[in-house]
Symmetry: C2
């Protein structure tokens, strides 16, 4: 490697990892200025590269944005999946953990979240993107299936409906209340508490018996 230390900012004529660097730059710019607030040229500049360089890796700004969203969905899926933890220690607790993880992701990764849900790109723009989104939703679906299985056969709600309800609730709370400081509305409780209460009430309405708090 010689003088070219891979961990310093120094680089030669070739960047070496421009694709990832552009995604990272896009994330920073989205975090700063919102999903509409960055340009292709911005990303290039921010990655320390000429304005023409990104064209070697992405067709246009939307393609870059879509890649950020795709990566975001993959991480989101991973986060939710770890929180679900195969339903351990028990389905109810694990379900609540998924809800917390949802809001935690939206709060700590607002740039990914914005790229995923507020970029303005149609979800079916790209087959990979759509598949990544479906996989993330799949975790909610799996968790709902497991929870429904706890109810006696005659009283089981459709698990798909249940997962859509929980998704909408979590997304609604995240959008309206659970972001960094921009666009937030004031709340008498945390977003996490609000979501947890809503899910408990909802589950009770489905026939789950009340659970004592941990």
């Amino acid at each position: 490697m010689g003088w070219k230390d891979r961990h310093s900012g120094a680089r030669g004529y070739h960047h070496g990892n421009l694709r990832e660097a552009l995604i990272q730059a896009a994330l920073n710019l989205i975090a700063e200025k919102g999903p509409a607030g960055f340009t292709f040229a911005d990303a290039a500049r921010s990655a320390g590269v000429s304005a023409a360089a990104p064209y070697r890796h992405f067709r246009d700004r939307d393609a870059l944005m879509a890649d950020v969203a795709r990566q975001g969905f993959a991480r989101f899926e991973n986060t939710l999946s770890i929180a679900w933890s195969n339903g351990k220690p028990d389905a109810m607790t694990a379900f609540a953990n998924v809800g917390k993880a949802y809001l935690h992701f939206a709060r700590t990764e607002p740039a990914y979240y914005a790229a995923m849900f507020e970029s303005g790109l149609p979800p079916d723009l790209d087959a990979d993107l759509q598949a990544a989104g479906d996989r993330a939703f799949g975790v909610l679906r799996t968790a709902s299936d497991a929870l429904c299985a706890l109810l006696p056969a005659g009283k089981r709600p459709p698990a798909l409906m249940m997962s859509l309800h929980v998704w909408a609730l979590a997304h609604g709370i995240a959008s309206l209340f659970g972001r960094g400081d921009a666009g937030r509305r004031k709340l008498p409780m945390t977003a996490e508490e609000l979501l947890e209460a809503a899910v408990l009430i909802y589950l009770q309405g489905l026939g789950f018996s009340p659970v004592a708090p941990t």
Copy 2:
């Protein structure tokens, strides 16, 4: 009036109602290209006026956008208020009507809805804007109050929490599923049905007895 017919596109040197025309133009452009997809110059062109004219009425693009949002909230409040109809014929039915009206507004006025919730403007940018948003939310709050009052005193949930839950649910469903064709995800039922089911389950969880469908 002479040749100048107020109902034709013809106009003299003065536009007569440029402020409103710019808001209307902004709405059309938002509907076409999303809340980030229009510029001050676009709006002027679309209103048939020179690029410098809008400065007589709005400080900049954000001020125009804020006015669109403010007007949107006012109409939204009106719509929800009519749906609530002072709790007639009964609180439960009226509450369900508010939910339907919420989604109906989001679907039929996507441009207003986007300006209100997806413009990227901070809600506290403008005191008028914030007040308009608060008034719209106030309808949900009032409806929740009335519904809570039906429960025996010892079992009443906090009405504020309840209204936040319903708002988040409605907004989540509207954002994820209930829009024009852009950004929509496929659903096995309509957004209205999805919301109505969620609210019924939620209310049941709060202790409301199941209601027979109309």
